[in-house]
Every structure is written in C-alpha cells, then in structure tokens.
C-alpha cells in the first residue's frame, strides 16, 4: 500500500510504501519514521483520540492520525490556516490565542445546584481535545484570519451555559467582534470534529444569547429594507 505525504522542504508529495493490512495513520507515520525516513516530521501523543496532538488532513478532510485507518493512495497534508513548522507539524499558537480572546473560562463563580440535565448541557462541548481540526476546516479563515473560530466559540458557549457562571454577559460581550456573527453556519467544523461536537449549533445558540444581551447581527443592520428601489411600499395597503 502506498500513501503520499506533503513534505514542507520541497513542497511536493512524497510516496511511501506500507505493508498491507489495517493500520492507523499514526502507526503508519511512525513506521515510516522508524524504518524509512527519520526526517518525516509529525506530532504524536496518546494514540487514543484524547490528547489532540495528531490531527492532519487526509484527502482534504481533517482526521486524527491515531484514529484514521490508512487506505491505498491516501494523500496526507498538514492542517490548513496554521503556519507549517515542518511537514505535518503545525504551529498552534495563533489558533489557540482565540481561547484568550474569547475569554472562554469561568469568569465569576457562584454556587449553584447543578443536576444531571445541567451536566448534559455541556457534556459533548467539554469533550473538546483542542486538536484544531475544526479550525482547519473552517472556510471563514480564508477571508478573516482573526475569526475566533469554532473551538473557541464552543468553549465560550460551554461556560455561558454553566450554572456556576454569574457573569455570562462578559463572555457574550467578548465574542461579538470577529465572533459569532462572522460564522457562515456552513457546518464544516461539525462534519470533521473527531469528538462529535457541533460548533455550528453552539454558535447558533450563542447568537441567541447575544440577542438576549441586546446584540444583533451587524450584517443585518447594514442591509436596507423598504426603500423605493424595492419597487413596492411595505406601508401601502393592498
């Protein structure tokens, strides 16, 4: 079985051969590094889909290397919208700055009476492993590199629905600019999340919370309605 991996030094795809049989991509990458080409560079950690280290793109789709089973002809590339440090290894500093910008943490603790259904409000959101797959899949980054992005907004949402948070407004205030309204709701993030998180839904929910706090869609405000150009007067009777 052969796979192609994008090498950063030459910016070309290099062909590697693997023995036949089922193998997780991470094991395949290790096999190549250990036996064929020690210069091939990638990030690896827990092997069990929980440390968030090993996300790459396979045939244009984000996958955790440790969870993806290699198929003949697969094309392996680094995550998008991240500076490539070497081969499949990327710099996650800029992407993870979105966590600080969106102030996705518990701002002001209050004692609460959380129950089982409260746990469910953020159970899936808190499965996030910061693998950056969603960030890489998000098309907004092609036009706005400062977008807060799916994982930071999901995390902001997770704290905003936490009964222990007495200052939800600050979180909502901090996700307006380059935040919830910049999302196109395309759902690419949801499609690639290895933990089954749905950032698109979380962003939609955050928009609802934003409206409750008095915010509205800025793009909506710049549209115009009821001008004569529309060809009819909405106030006119029929």
């Amino acid at each position: 079985m052969q796979i192609k991996i994008l090498r950063s030094k030459t910016n070309t795809y290099q062909l590697y051969s693997l023995p036949a049989g089922e193998i997780p991509l991470l094991n395949a990458l290790s096999y190549i590094k250990e036996t064929q080409d020690a210069t091939l560079t990638f990030s690896a950690g827990c092997r069990a889909s929980v440390c968030g280290t090993c996300a790459v793109r396979v045939n244009g789709r984000e996958e955790l290397s440790c969870a993806y089973k290699v198929k003949p002809g697969d094309i392996i590339e680094p995550l998008q919208y991240h500076p490539v440090l070497r081969d499949l290894k990327v710099d996650k500093h800029k992407s993870q700055e979105t966590l600080s910008k969106s102030t996705a943490w518990l701002h002001s603790f209050q004692e609460a009476t959380p129950n089982h259904s409260d746990e469910k409000l953020s159970e899936v959101q808190t499965d996030c492993i910061l693998c950056d797959a969603c960030y890489s899949a998000c098309p907004v980054y092609a036009v706005n590199p400062d977008f807060l992005g799916p994982f930071a907004l999901t995390r902001a949402y997770r704290y905003s629905v936490d009964k222990r948070e007495s200052n939800v407004k600050t979180i909502i205030d901090n996700i307006q600019h380059d935040g919830v309204w910049d999302c196109t709701l395309c759902g690419e993030c949801t499609a690639v999340c290895p933990k089954g998180i749905d950032p698109k839904m979380d962003i939609t929910m955050l928009r609802g919370l934003s409206v409750q706090e008095g915010y509205s869609d800025p793009s909506f405000m710049t549209q115009s309605f009821g001008t004569p150009n529309f060809g009819f007067d909405p106030n006119a009777g029929f």
Binding site: K33, G45, A48, T53, L85, T113, N115, T126
Partner: protein, 533 residues
Amino acid sequence: MIDVLIIGSGGAGLTAALSAKESGASVLVAGKTYPTNSQTSMAQGGINAALANVGEDHISSHISDTIKSAHGLCDEDMVRKMCADAPQTIEWLENLGVPFSRLDNNKKGKDTIAQRQMGGASAKRACYAQDYTGLKILHTLYDTCLKENIDFLDEHYLLNLIVKDDTVRGATFFNIRTGEVIQINAKSVVMATGGYGSLYHGHTTNAYGSTGDGVAAVLRAGGAVSDMEFIQFHPTALKHSSILISESARGEGGYLVNEAGERFVDELKPRDEVARAIFAQLEEGQRVFLDVRHLGEEKLMELLPQEVELCKMHEHVDPAKELIPIKPVAHYTMGGIDVDYALEVNGIKGCFAVGECSNAKVHGANRLGGNSLLEIIAFGRFTGENAYKHAVYASNKEADNTQKAQDKAQIEDIYAQENTSNFYPYRELLGNLFYEKVGIVRENKQLHESLKEVIEMQMTQKSMGISDKSKTNNQNLIDFLEFRNALLLAPTIISAAIARDESRGAHFKVGFEEENEAFKKHIVLQWKKNNEE
C-alpha cells in the same frame, strides 16, 4: 529572575502554576508539548474524595483503603494529608468550573457530583466526568491558566537542571522549534514531568512522551529517586493496541472472563491482584475478555462513551454486543523522584516534584484508581505554595552558563555523531524486554538477564545517533533524547527489582511470593558525584 519555573504542563504543572501565582510568585511553565497534550488527558475513571455523595464514606476510609493498597510502603502522614485535602481539592475544581457528572439530589456545589466505585475502594468515592475525567479537569485548568495569564513556553524540551551547592538555580532546555539551547534562571523549580511508563514501549497505555525525562534529569543533577521497581500494570488495555479501557468499566459492573466464559477473579480488587490473575490466565494459554454486555447500550453510552468508541475503532468490537479482548500493560509508575513532606527533592534544595514523576509515597507498592488525579491536584497546589515560599528567600544571583555550554556541546556532538545503528528498533526492543522480563511476574534470573541486555544496549547507544540533521523541528532528535532518558532509568528499575527479594503490591517475584518485613522500606538511589567519592 522568575520565582517559580514549572517543568511540565500536565495537570500537576498547571495546578502548581495556578497555586504559585496565587501565592504571589512570578511563574513560567515550560513543557515539551502544548499544555493540553499531556498524559492527564488520558485519565478516565475519576478523582477520589470521601464526599459521601453516593452512600456512606469517610476520609478515614479513604486513608485506610489507600494505606492497605500501598502494602506498607506509603508514608501514612502523606496519605492522610492527601485524603484529608481531597474534599477541598474537589471544591477548588468545582469553583474553577470542571464539568463533573452530576446527581439529581437537589443539593448544592460539590455535593451534587456523581461518584463511582473503583477497585480497592470501600465506597463509591471517585468523582467523575463520564469517562473523560482527566481530560475535563486538564482543560478547565488550562482555561483558568489563560484567565490568570500564566506564561507558557511550549515545545521546550528539558535537558538538565542547573544545580550549584546542592541548590537548584534553573534549568536548560532545547527549543524544539529553533534548535537552540537556552537557560532559564529561577529561584525555585517544580518538576511536573510525568512518569516513565513508556519504557514499556508497545506495552503501555502511556503516551509516547512518558519517558521519565524529569526523573532522569534529577538523577543526573544529584537528586534521589526511589521505589523505581514499582510499576503498575493496568488490567484492561485493548489487546492489540494497548489502549486503556478504564477501571470504571469494572466499577460499573463489568466482568472479566476467560475463553470458557468463566469469571476468575473479583474484578474490584486492586489493580496488582487483578493484573496478576489475568496474567495467570494468559500464561495458561487462555484469552481474556472484558464483558460489559449486560450493562446495556444505553448505560454504556451514558457512563463509558469513550470506551465504546475506542473498542469499535481499535478492536472492531461493539462492547454492547461483544466481548472486549484485553491484556494487562504498564500504566503508572509509583516510584520516581524522592521527595520530602514539602515535595522538595531529596538532594536538591529548591527543586520540587509533583505528580507521577515524584514519589510522594502516597501510592506505595500499588496505586488505587482515582488517587493519581487527586495527587496531582491536591499536591500540585501544595507544591506551588511551597515553591513560592522557597523563592521568597532564595538567592537572586543568576547561575553562570556552564551547564548551558555543556548541554550545547552535547547536542552538537549528537549532530556530529555518525549514526551507525538506528535507535528506533532498540526502543521497541527495550519495551519488549521490560514487558517480558521486568513485567507483572518477575524472577531473578530474568532480571539479571535484562540488566545485562540493558547495559549492552547502553554500550551500543554510543554508536546510535540521529539521521535527521535538521536544526529546527527535529523530532528524530527529541525521540533520541527521550530514548536516552529511558535507557538511563532502565537499570535503576531492574536493580531495585533484583534487590527486592519479596513480593509486595505491583512487584511480584517468583521464589519470593510473600511480603518480607525486612523489605518494608524504600529503595533509594542516588548517583555519587564524581568529586566526592
């Protein structure tokens, strides 16, 4: 100069950082990866505290369970401190926003946290967040560190501690991105560098990076290590991938069965006993399985969603319908850097150690499930405070660059070294050797053989090197440095195992199957300094 330098950015390191900063220290956290990549993310089952949210429990029961499981090798004062601090530790996590699983009991705060049964516990004591407890604690700690503006230095690989007059003055690091050797001066240093379970390469639940870098650095710097022979084998890892299936699977009612479908051990005994019972079955040629089918799909998805996913992905088994093939593999290192009551390293003043890298003598010969997350948080906070206190009176004088110059020269030597034998196969060889001969059941003949093989491997290491000569982002070099640390620690484990002619907790030796009062002590190892012999 920084007050407190924290090395390692897992749960112990982040907790120590928050606590040192809260005490008033300036703090820097340096780690070889990003903060949330650490081993803490893999802790699944829970964190122990006698909250009695689900049935009766007492701190005294937590203490006695822990002491019993430690088989006489713990320091009872340290156990008492950890267990007594447990409820307020959970409260602290609750106040940071950790998303624990909850009960419907109309109570407040930590009294609503769900608790489950773990092996060796006399009550439902492990607070959990589904089977993602470590992950969710770690990420909440990270969020809090961002909130508190903790400074991080990611992708910095620890080379050596800088020690002068038996006092730590900082540490040297290899910047993985740029390839530079740097020196960080600090008044106090906290080692939070994790265990050495990855010595058992290929036979461990641990991430690749658990190579005992900090333990090795302390040895090189003249500090003491202890109880190195005590390595916990987790009874249930997936047979083909060594991926962990949490003890909570048994805590929630899962069975262990052999090929004949017979149960052969009380599944809720401590890990050492269960692992040996499984090993005995495997030695008889039996295959062993975890059976959770009777729990039903709905309960499995509620309580153990991660396990279900991992079984499907890596073993092609649906736990709701099929048996899960398992084997015991190396999971946790009880031994490590020898510390005193303040978690200060014996032999190096101002240097502290916390978490799996340290031997705070709370786990003794066998750790209880749910006590390691407790240790990293309870003692992480304590260590942060102690490191700050030391920093208050520590010298402000910066260390010279002797250590840095030495380390730089050594890295240059590695680049210049002709690589005549590839070290990667040796890494695998070392893992196999340890699993077979320094494993669940040991015997002196095999231990002596393994020591000989390890020493031969250390000789061969001189002809090993790196074939990737890139200055920047050289993972080949990091893998090699990690392998060297593992190889440096290997003889300490084997020689302590040879010396311990008895069976106690996780250390079981053929021919010496009973506990021997004469060995109710810690085996402490420390390198003599060249000029002091």
